[in-house]
Symmetry: C2
Subunit: 216 residues, 2 copies
């Protein structure tokens, strides 16, 4: 086959491994399956990587980095908080519906990391990057929607991530679209309830709910 630089080969192998993992699961991502997906020989694999573990490790860090990039996706302010949150959730959910294997692969890789001693720190990093992304969205929403949050953004980010994880998990298990819709409605409501309009030109129609609980 064609001649490719080791660097290109490494990234090709990472993508191939990801494809195999998404299609057949982590346990099926053997060196042979991966090189078959990438259409190269076993020797090429071991020329690019010292071991399978090294590849998997790179796959995971790649995935984490990618997630961080993806979640920098622009937030589209829709006037009120609830609508904005709801739209962002819908965008994520559409992605999930289109590529369930991908999110499933994320979960599996996370569990794989938890079971591998040298990779033990990665789940915390991966989860941290989710929270950072969520916090970024919440921060970005403040000036765009003319609000502040009644609790620390970090805390709200954690709530948002927990709900998103729960939503993902539930849908992966039962594939109930209608239930997912209702769940997203709730998430939008509960997040919107933490928004406080700042003085000045108040955004309209976002005070349907009273500031719940307050900063406790």
């Amino acid at each position: 086959m064609a001649r490719v630089s080791a660097n290109d080969r490494r990234s090709a192998l990472v993508r191939a491994a990801l494809a195999v993992i998404a299609r057949d699961g982590v346990h099926a991502a053997t060196t042979r399956a991966i090189v078959a997906e990438a259409d190269m020989s076993l020797a090429s694999f071991h020329y690019a990587y010292r071991s399978r573990d090294e590849l998997i490790r790179e796959v995971i860090t790649f995935v984490v980095d990618q997630q961080e990039d993806v979640s920098r996706a622009a937030i589209a302010p829709l006037g009120d908080v609830r609508g904005t949150v709801r739209a962002a959730l819908q965008a994520y959910f559409d992605l999930l519906r289109e590529h369930p294997e991908r999110e499933q692969a994320m979960f599996e890789l996370m569990h794989y990391s938890m079971r591998t001693a040298e990779l033990g720190a990665l789940p915390a990093i991966q989860h941290g990057s989710y929270r950072t992304a969520a916090a970024g969205l919440l921060e970005a929403a403040m000036p765009l929607l003319g609000i502040t949050w009644s609790r620390p953004v970090d805390e709200l980010a954690r709530i948002l991530v927990a709900l998103t994880d729960g939503l993902t998990y539930a849908w992966l298990a039962d594939r109930d679209d209608a239930a997912a819709d209702r769940l997203m409605d709730y998430v939008a409501d509960t997040i919107a309830a933490f928004a406080i309009p700042v003085s000045g030109p108040a955004p309209v129609a976002s005070e349907r709910t009273l500031p719940q609980g307050g900063a406790q």
Copy 2:
């Protein structure tokens, strides 16, 4: 070794498999590892089970049934809704803290089921049983606390399960106890906000928070 009936052997193998899975993960639950844990020979394994898959399948159904039993645990009404929900969450979380491997094993088994064609239906069943359990708690709380819920119990159960899954996942990833505490506080608040006191002897001191959002 001692002489044991095939039936006893089957359940012993299920428990052993569960122990191995919790300790080392699903991928490490080989026939040899399982029989070593159960302290019996390979022949005994294949006398009791036709194949490893048959065992794993039994492990999963066992786990689902067990979960259903566990979640019938009595709800301890603490006067107000928030306190009751918070205490129930804390009880679950304490269990999680004590045996993280156990919950981790549940997740892994779920993913294993998703990847195995004949087991594809199990995740939905497992998740359904979680929701049923949550719904049972919410139903039980109604007469005990003198409340009704402003939304269908099924829907609230789904929210509760999603939040619990998210909580579990987050804690497994970063082991942040303080953050888990704050998250549970939020869950208790948000669930309590769906409670409507019924006319009659109103429960005391549960109106610290205004009914948030209400029935939207």
